[in-house]
Symmetry: none
Subunit: 219 residues, 2 copies
Amino acid sequence: MNEIRIILADTHRVFRQGCRELLDAEPGLSVVAEAADGLEAIDAVQRHLPEVLILELMLHSLDGMEVIRRVSRFNVETRSIVLSTYSDEVHVISALRNGASGYVPKEAGVEELKTAVRTVVRGEVFLSPAFAEYTFSDGHLSTLASLDLLERLTQRHREILKLIAEGRTTNEIAQALFISAKTVETHRANLMLRLEIRDVPGLVRFAIRSGLVNLDHDG
Amino acid sequence: MNEIRIILADTHRVFRQGCRELLDAEPGLSVVAEAADGLEAIDAVQRHLPEVLILELMLHSLDGMEVIRRVSRFNVETRSIVLSTYSDEVHVISALRNGASGYVPKEAGVEELKTAVRTVVRGEVFLSPAFAEYTFSDGHLSTLASLDLLERLTQRHREILKLIAEGRTTNEIAQALFISAKTVETHRANLMLRLEIRDVPGLVRFAIRSGLVNLDHDG
DNA sequence: ACTAATATCAGGTTATTCCTGATAAGCCTC
DNA sequence: GAGGCTTATCAGGAATAACCTGATATTAGT
């Protein structure tokens, strides 16, 4: 009989071990290798040519997205299923566009994962029910996915965002940049629109995450 | 014989299922319940009074750090082991200070996790070898300092600080906690006084530094 | 030349913060 | 067990900031 051979790629060893246990327990499924990062994943796929690659997007050395891209280009027989902490539209759509055949959030159970495996080996696409409403209609999303959010801001925006995250008030920022407080307000509103962030704390977290400010900036 | 009863708290069902499989396979260990978020974790601990709680720090509804704090205060028999994607000094130290008995990164294998379980039930602290230098290093004073400050806040203060840093408005916080907006204002003013922080961005940075909130998605 | 994006600003309305109080419950102490 | 300390709760009114709408000048792109 044809056994479905699987490769598991995830940074976390406990997770791989547990997942492997669950998948191996299922008749017809067999985990033939594990990978702890992107390069290992590519390596393992080329060596074993498995039917399915299950991978987390967040991987070291080579991003999960890049792994999908390469596998879908050079190992067309191997289907990729994303099993990730990310469950937002941007990642799901981006993964599928890059060649993934399935997407399962880690919130789901093994049952769903097994279904996904069997679905993709039939050549179909498996999308977790939770993502049903995600549509891949417009091109806007693909650009959104590939762009670094910081790049979507103007220099002025970044300048002001930085000052906000450092705790300066609107008036202080105005004085520092020799512009009107009203202008600062407009800039703030605009950059919030672009980042789709609705509150100042969200801006601060974003600024820290993107390296615009660091945490020991005390006031 | 005395079986070690364990509760597993993690957002991701696949992960819980896999982990449970691995732990249950070990003689003497038994996973008696799972929890998908912080409140469920507290609930499960109070119902089962297990020897060990294994939890991820990133949890919905109630932060992992807060779960540790409550468990260590109200369920002294239960030892908490953090099993997290986070492996930075801030989170490790913060978890231990809040009452965790062990910290294992998800990069580690089950063997290490089992060792951690057996170590903490003996009343000792288990720290993953990777973190060995953290406890003794005096380098990151700002981290330690902010943790001390965090302990000077009341429970209510921390609760409100967390919500502020997550981007909730004063009114939203008031509604969430069933108190008046005026009271929330007072709490905010008081905790700002104690922390000697004068602006909201400062609060957000402090909250992140001390592990009260994380940088990931909003909510 | 026309369009889009950027940077600048204002008026007026709404919402929030800041300041100055106040009360009641719980706890430690002497 | 009376008095002080901390905590949690709340209000009125003044000061401030945010929000919405709309406008203009400059540059960059096609």
